[in-house]
Structure formats: C-alpha cells, structure tokens
Symmetry: C2
Subunit: 640 residues, 2 copies
C-alpha cells in the first residue's frame, strides 16, 4: 500500500502487526457485517500514522473495504486516506493522527460504556464491551495522555486497555533523545495496571497479557509491548522506516526477511480463513446473542434503549424550558444552568461536566451526583483541571453514542481544547461546549482570563457552530439548537455578567437559528444604516439606535449570535437583514475585529478589541475599552 502510494508510514505497521493481529483475532468483539453494532468493542489506533496496518486488518476482518480500496491508499477520494477517518473508512471508530488524542477519545468511550452499563444493565448485559487502543511513544509524550490517563485511573475504567507499541524510535531518531520516562512507574502513579511483553513477536505472551487485562476489574491497563519499528525492513529499528516508503530494494529485502512470497495485494486463503473462523464468527455469534438479549427487554426498557442509541429526544423535552419576559435580567451562565436542568429533567441520557469550574460554569445537574467509579450512573463529570482531556473525552463519548454530552470551561481556556474541538468538527460530532466568562467583562481576573480572539478563532474553524446569545431568550434558543444539531459541535458562549431581556428577542427567537436577524427595525421603510452586534453588546446597539434617532439617523439593529448560521441562509434572507445598498454599518463586539468586515465591508466600522484585556472592575474595563452608547454613536456618525 505504502509503496503503491509512494507515501506513508511503514514503521508502525511492520512492528506492531503481531500485537494488532493478536488483538483482532483473539479478543476484539466486532461484527464487520454490522459495523455499527452498539455493543461492539471499540478500537482506536491512536498512532494514526499506522493507518496502513489498520486498513489491512479492517479488510481482513471483512469490513466493506476492498483490495481496490487498499490499492488507492492515500489517494484523493479513496476510502483509505492518509490517517484513519471516522465516517470515511468502515470500521474506524475514531479519526486519529494528531497524537495523544486517540487515548483521550478512548477514555471517553470507556466512560460512556461505564455510564450506559450502569443505567441499562439491569436484567441484561446490553452494554458490556472493551475499548482497546494501540498507541506509540508520540502519544505518550503528548500532555493529553497525562490528563486522560490520570482521569481514567481516577475513574478506574477497567475496560480500557492500551497496547503501547514501544519501539524506542520516533520521527527524528531514537526516542531517548527526548524521552526517558519510566512508563511503568508513570502509569502506576495514575492507578493503572501495567504489564510488559518483552518480545513484540510473541503472540502467546501478547494474548495472555490482554487476557489478564480483561480480567482486571478495578483499573485500566497499559500493556507495553517491546517491538522493532519497521520489523523485517533493512533499516528496522531506526527512524528511517518511520515515515517514508521503503523503496523497491527495501521491499525485496523485507519480503526475504519475512519469507513472504505472495504477490502484491494478495491475501493467502489461510489468512482469510483464520479471520473468518476467529474474529468474524465470534463477532457474529456474540452479536446474535446480544440481539436475543435485546428482544427480552420490557417494552419500556426497549424504548429507552432505542432512544439512547438513536439519540432521539423525548417529544416533551421542550415543554418545560425556562422563559423570560421584559424586565428580567440574568447572566448567560445562569440561563445555561437552567437549560441544563430543564433538559436533564426530560432527557435521561443527557450528561456532562466541567474542568474544575462547575461552580463557575454552572454545569452541574442538580439532583445528580458525580460520575465516579462507584457511581457511574451519575451525570456530573468532574474532569479536573484537564481541559484537553475533557474535550477529547467528550469526543469519545459522542463517538461511542448513546448519550447527549456537554462540557464546560472558561472561554479563554478553550485554547487548551482547540486540537480536540477541531477533531469534533472533522468527525461531525454533536458535542456541546459551554464556554462562560466570554469577554473582558470578566473584569478583575485580567487579560489571562479575558477572551479576545477566541470568538473569531472558533468562527474560522470549519463545521463548528458558534453561538453567542444576546439575552436569556437567545440563550434558550441557542441551547435548543445545540441539542438538536447532529452533524457538528456547538460552541455556546455565555457571559459572566447579567443580560437584560431584550425587546424583540423573545418573539424573534427563530432568528437565532438563522444566525442573525433584525432585532429592532428602523422607523422608516429603509434603514439609513445598521448596527450589528452579538452577545452583551446587542443591548448597546439598541441604546445607540435610540440616540441616533434623536439625531435624525434612522438605523436598524441586527443581532448576530452566529456567523456560521447566518452564512448558511439564502441570499434573499441575508439581503433582508443586511441590505446590500446600506453601507453605513457598525459592528460592536468585545472581541477581535478581524472577520467582522464580512458584514461591515470596506465602508463600515468595526468596534472591537484588538489588544489584550485588563484587570479591574468589569464596568471600568468595559469603559476603558470604549464600549459605551456614546462610542457607538460617534463611530456611526464618523462615517458621514
């Protein structure tokens, strides 16, 4: 494959093949004819550059991945891209490549399994599977591996088994140029069970180690398997076999070393039979047993289980959401808290948590306790101060399926999560992020805690929906959208400070789903100009509108909670909201201005913040950065 593509990473596939083979033929519970079987074991190749090995195994296992597919490895529009892509390659449980994140997603999968098992395994064992990972040195060097492993150890996720392809070589050379950790000690410090297999070609030893790990009931297991990178290749054991094709001579030598005489892309019948007799038959049998169990569920339990798997919301989930009237005032984070509570009351499979900021992000579900090893049925996840692991775990929980998941932190610290938010977007996962403390209005905590560029940075990311509500009614609408969108993550950006209910926001709350809408129309038939704002700054636009009217300038106010949603509307709708000929436009947002020109153009003005924030009382900080009615009217009038 790699030779055919003239591109790829032969090192891991050759070194780790025996351990992967052992895992697939003797342990992995999957049914390739039913690739989405809910109770299958999950498998994550965290070292995603070893994709050639994974695709070979998926083909041998009987997934809908043909020899022709393998021949198109790394070619455009193929089903065998350079790194494993969930949703593109049948049998790939997670998109990997950015190192470390595979482990984090696997931790999330194991968390989901534990949670669902606690809820659904009453008379039956409908949720009862392992999550296996193959990782490399690179994964373990990444910080997210620490966060995720520490969390997994704390939660005693005994059904999580990580096979560590320990080959002592990384891209740049021997791994010990940069890495001299004692891996055993490290993982034991997290409360993991550790095993070591000295010879990566010893199938029996690998098999026994995995079996021992499966019997562990109180801790996740790391099995360090000593392998030789690029085993059999002339330059085995060096970084020169890590990431480049071996070349024709290399292939000849490899074939000789491994005594391999089959033609290219030919699978010996013996191999096919082996996979049929082991993996395929076992998987099919186990799935049938599982289906039988499922038949035995009571009608009510069957409906609940089905609803979990299909992520269908109960018809009445929307009935008891909070409502707000003019005169009321509430911070975004508190409205979010009420929404979480209202949803949790109706949707049993709705859960989430925060990175040690639940009391600030307001993410706890009242009436539920912490999700722990002893109480896995509970719904409040304590991720600890581990934002990146949190985000990877959210991805894993979403990938696993069976629940609706959310996670929070301060908006500035979304920076720590960015790599995982990107993988959520790429995998089209319906994760909801609750990012509170959304601007310089954070106040005293100062610039390290005050987001500036985060809003625009996330808006620039493909397939992420970013919503910054202007008042409690928009916040309710935003949460509703987050829960009903299935093909992308939603970033909810909430204030720390109170927001008054705005006139018009309640009636026009459908506008939130369109991303932007005219919240307050001009007096005449056509606006002279438009003030466009998001979040807490919409109120400012409304007062400025009044002031401008006194000065005979008749402008409309557009609330723009979501760029991505607005950009998906028809030209016609966009023209209604922002008429092309109206060029007197001012945008108002306490964040980076870059990007607002999409709506204000070359003739408009963007009021924003293109420097870092400051520590002080929120009102004083806001004033220092020039956000006042007067400043808006001045900015508008300057265009004349």
């Amino acid at each position: 494959m790699i030779e055919a593509a003239q591109s790829g990473h032969p090192g891991l596939p050759l070194g780790a093949a025996p351990l992967a083979y052992t895992l697939f033929t003797r342990h992995l519970k999957i049914d390739p004819e039913n690739p989405e079987w809910f109770d299958r074991d999950r498998f994550v190749l965290s070292a995603g550059h070893g994709s050639a090995m994974l695709y070979s195994l998926l083909h041998l296992s009987g997934f809908n991945l043909s020899i022709a597919d393998l021949k198109h490895f790394r070619q455009l529009n193929s089903r065998t891209p350079g790194h494993p892509e969930h949703g593109v390659v049948p049998g790939v449980d997670a998109t990997t490549g950015p190192l470390g994140q595979g482990i984090g997603m696997a931790v999330g999968m194991a968390m989901a399994e534990a949670h669902l098992a606690a809820i659904f395994n009453q008379a039956t064992q409908l949720v009862d599977h392992h999550t296996y990972v193959i990782c490399g040195d690179g994964d373990l060097m990444e910080g997210v591996s620490h966060e995720a492993a520490s969390l997994a150890g704390h939660l005693k996720l005994s059904k999580l088994i990580v096979l560590y392809d320990s080959n002592d070589v990384s891209l740049d050379g021997p791994a010990d140029r940069a890495l001299t950790d004692n891996v055993q000690k490290r993982f034991e410090s997290y409360g993991w069970h550790y095993q070591r297999v000295a010879d990566g070609n010893d199938l029996t030893a690998i098999d026994q180690a995995i079996t021992r790990a499966e019997r562990q009931a109180t801790a996740p297991t790391l099995i360090e398997v000593k392998t030789v990178i690029g085993y059999g290749a002339p330059k085995q054991g060096t970084n020169q076999v890590h990431g480049s094709p071996l070349g024709a001579a290399g292939i000849i030598a490899l074939r000789k070393a491994l005594n391999w005489q089959e033609a290219e892309f030919t699978v010996p019948k013996l191999v096919t039979e082996r996979f049929t007799k082991t993996l395929r038959q076992n998987g099919a049998n186990k799935r049938q047993l599982w289906e039988q169990q499922r038949q035995e569920l009571s009608p009510k339990a069957a409906q609940q289980f089905k609803r979990a798997i299909t992520q269908e919301l109960p018809a009445d989930w929307i009935n008891e959401l909070p409502t707000y009237k003019l005169g009321q005032s509430e911070s975004g984070r508190v409205t979010s808290q009420k929404m979480i509570q209202a949803i949790a009351n109706k949707v049993p499979m709705f859960w989430g948590g925060s990175a040690d900021l639940a009391t600030s992000n307001k993410t706890d579900i009242a009436g539920s306790n912490s999700f722990t090893a002893l109480t896995p049925e509970q719904r409040n996840i304590c991720f600890g101060v581990r934002e990146f692991a949190e985000a990877t775990a959210l991805n894993g929980i979403a990938l696993h399926g069976g629940s609706h998941i959310f996670g929070g932190t301060f908006f500035t610290f979304s920076d720590y999560m960015r790599g995982a938010i990107r993988l959520a977007a790429l995998q089209k996962l319906p994760v909801t992020y609750i990012f509170t403390h959304d601007s310089i209005a954070v106040g005293e905590d100062g610039p390290t805690h005050e987001p500036v560029e985060q809003l625009m940075s996330l808006r620039a990311m493909p397939n992420v929906s970013v919503i910054r509500p202007a008042d409690p009614n928009e916040a309710v609408a935003a949460w509703k959208l987050a829960l009903t969108v299935h093909d992308r993550p939603t970033v909810l950006v909430f204030t720390r400070q109170d927001l008054a209910v705005l006139k018009g926001a309640q009636q026009q709350v459908s506008g939130v789903s369109r991303g932007g809408y005219v919240l307050s129309v001009q007096q005449g038939t056509q606006p002279e100009g438009v003030l466009i704002a998001s979040g807490s700054e919409v109120a400012l636009a409304l007062t400025a509108q009044q002031e401008l009217l006194k000065l005979k300038h008749d402008v409309a106010v557009v609330s723009m909670p979501s760029f991505d949603r607005f950009d998906q509307q028809s030209r016609h709708y966009q023209e209604q909201v922002l008429p092309a000929h109206v060029r007197n436009r001012v945008s108002i947002e306490m964040g980076a201005t870059l990007g607002w020109e999409r709506y204000v153009g070359l003739d408009g003005v963007s009021m924003g913040i293109d420097s870092f924030g400051a520590s002080g009382k929120a009102t004083e900080v806001i004033s220092k950065y020039g956000f006042s009615t007067k400043a808006v009217t001045t900015a508008y009038l300057k265009m004349w």
Copy 2:
C-alpha cells in the same frame, strides 16, 4: 488586599505563605534594587491566582511596589492586577494564570540557564542561578505539566525546584473528586528527585528540603508541601476559601486564629527588618560579587556576554543570508533551514528546535548537536512530541533572556500550542515559531494534518506577527523581521512544497516588512481590479493577472504576507496598495476566508477553504479545492 478589592483568591496565599516566606527569606537570590539582574534566581508562581501572596512578598522584598499599589489590588491600571503580569509588576518573572504554563516556562528558564552557563562559565560563574516554582494541584493536572516535567527530567535540569502547594482542594471541591495521582511516583517516573514536607507550617523542614534540592546535581526536584488551603480562615481546608473574599466576619476570625493585631495594610517593623537582613542584604551582596566577576572578563568575553544580555545582533549577521534569483525554486521550509543556518553562523546565541519534527520542519542547525544534560552548550533542542511544553519553554527561554530562540512544528499542531502563543504575545516575547506544511498542499497526510483555519485564527490574536511568505525572497525577509522584532512573537508559516522565485519579490522585499505590497502593477495608470494573495497562492494571482489582461481586464497583484504589518501602515500607504475606489478585488489563500473581507469588502470575492482538507496527492487536492488560474479568472469575471 482581597477584601479591599472584594475580589481574589485567599486560599493559596494563606496556605502557602510559610513555604513562600521560607523560599524568599532563606533561598531566593534576588536584588530588588536591580530587579533585572541577569543572574538572579527566577521565581514563577505557576498558580497565578495566588497573586495576593506574591505581591505581598514583592513589597516586603523591597521591589518598587508600594502599600498604595497593594491597596489597588485588581483595580484598573493598578500595578497589582488579578494575575501576575510580567512587565507590569516589578519582580514578576512570568505572567501566570492559565494553569500549568508556569511550570513549562520555568523549565524553559532552567534550560536557558544551563545553556548560557555552559557557554559563558569559563573562568567565572556568571550564569549560576536556580529557578523556583510554586504550583498547585491544578498545575499538575494540566497536560503541559507532564510534557514539561518529562522534558525537564530527561534534561536533568537540577537547578529547577518546584514547590508543590499540596492542599487537596481545588475550585470545585476536594481535589480527590478528580485527582488521585501518586505524585511522588509520577515525578520519579520522569527522573525527578522528590521530597515531601508533611507540615506546611514547619519552616525548618521546608528550608531543609529546599537546601537538599539545591544540592541535587542530576535531577530537578519536586517538593510536595502539605498545606491547608485558606489556613486560619473559618472555612480553611475547603473550596470555599479558594476564589472568593473571606468577608468581614471571616477576616475577624482569621486575625484571631493567627493572632494578628496589626492594622490593615501595615507591615510590622520586625518583618521589614527580617526581609532587609536576609533577602535584601544577601541579594545585594551577591549581585556585587557578580559585578566584580563580570569586571574580570576579558574584553572579548565581556562583549559577548553583554551582547547576549542585550540581545544585540552582530553587525555582520545579515551579510551571508541566502539570495535567490528568478528561475530558482525552493520550499519555504528549506529556505527557512538556510536562514537558520546563516543566522546561526553569525549569532552564537541563536538556538531552537522542534517537537520531534526537525527532519520535516528543517530546524536543525548543522554543525551543532542536541542540547542535552551532557552537552548543554549545543543548540538543537529535541522537545519530543510535546508541542505545548515546547511553546511554554520557548516563552521561558525568552523570559530568561540571553539568547534568540525559535521552535517548530507542523502548522496544524500550532493548535496544541495556542495557550502558550497567547502568553508569548501577552508578555511581548520575541519568540519565533516555524510552522511548516502550511496548507492542504500537505497532500497525503490528509485533513488532520492540513491547516485551514490556523492562519486566520493566529491573525486574530493580539500582538502576534504572522508572516506567510510567497517565495524564497519573501521567506528571507520574513526571517529577518522575526529576528529584529523585540516586542512580540513572530509566526513564520512555510510551505512543504516548492515555491518559484517571483518576479518583483526580490526588489520589493521591503514590502514584506510593510505586510502587503503591489508585487505586479497593472498596465495602465489605475488598476481595474486587484488580486490579493499570500504564500503559495501569490504565484496563482500572477498567472491569473496575465490571463485577465488577455481578456482586457487590467488588474494589479498584491502580495499580502502579513495582515498585522499591513494594518499598521499609514492610510496613505494602504491606499497606494489597495485604492479605496477599486472594488473589484479577489483574495486567494488556501485557508479560511473569514477575515479576508477586511481587504475585499462586500463587493469582492474571497477564494479560500471553509471546510476541512482531504488526503491525496498535493496537486490533486489543490485542484479539488478549486485553486487554479482558471478559477481565479472566473471568480474575478463573475463580479462583472
């Protein structure tokens, strides 16, 4: 302070005061009258929310921080902001608050100390100091603490001493709700020396532990000091003293518990004297001895040392930079490699490395070896697959001073570094990032390795200079700028693929310093339209210009390597490059379009990529995403 501000975190200051006091009065080598003394010990409060404690100690130590400053804690424009800010508060060696990063910066400081000591300590000991850290549970939960500690252990940074304020409580409650690591085992797995002080109020035990750590010659030390959060307050030992003022009743009880009878903001004479007799006199004496040593340097050594400290470049550093002529072609990363080499030849204190991608990022300095415990004078840093720790260490090295520092990785993985790039920008640190593989032209590795939104996301960050060169001459100019800018980090974005030398780029290379310039003028006196592009897409704009001319459309081509630099130019210059009345504008960049409207406005067109990339041959991927001369001309003609 916290009561006066009605905002802040009393927990850490009360619990960790004894250990901080011990460190300051018995160990820390600083001279508050010369706060920038080069050989001072560095101190980083990684748990930056404990700022009230740090400011108190800085005041007591004699830094230029008055009682009046303390009274203005967390107020706007005060010198005592909510979290410690380097450059704002005298004596603060690093801006902290985003957890974990303080440890990473301290690792960088210790690396700088080791490197400079190896180079300059021949006859003298001009570089010989410790780096001390106080951190909390939150810091240790963050993944960057793993990366940084693993790196520090590998490098045997024995002059790094971390005091761990181990109080078993985090913001949301008891830390063991989320954290059950065995910290000793964990740090020993990294090769650290570990000590434990059972009673955080036992000054002698703390003192002895620090002394033992200072005698360590082969490993960094973590001293776990068991403390009581909010010691003396009514709710000591709980999360309720973490982040909110104690209140009037709490203060009364605290005073009683600690038997403290001084008036508010009053320092007993005894305390002032203690700090004078210990920290201040010791520091002043040691600094005088150091100045004497410095006098003894040979004139040549003295000049070298001065140049290191002042970061002055040798006059001839610019003499042997690579030059390129029409007809040549080279990838951005290779031009960068040649620049690194040319600079390294002339600037001895220029060093850096990569996150296990040196062979791909082309960051190694030829003729130098790896910076290791045994060879700290060498200039190639092997950060391992630890992007975040790398970026925090770069910050620490820059904060330490004495060298010019750079670091690289693949551009997509800049996501992993984002939190630290932000702290570089906030602290105005002249760090140079080398981000290669800058677009979908990465090809086979696919969407996980293909940047899309990274360019615009970094452009949105305040005080970061982002430069994406269009050809080898622009790449040379970009590197020159990076090395001569002192008040902000520079992100250099380089291609993997070859770039042909462009006509005009050599002559107008000063244009790079202005961010954008007319690379190819129209035929007539005024352009009918403008094609604006960056990086590899500028070549496309040039061929499209020719095609459009054949169709009687006379357009100019603007190369825009740096938004931030262009935005800083005068209106007059900007008008020369992009005349306001010329509205037929097309931007061309293989990245997110959001933000390009700053230059193309409402009437122009942005050719870009607002979805994720794809795996395939680079040329095919580029074609799939519609980047061709034909597509540019079509986009332009559509405006008519």
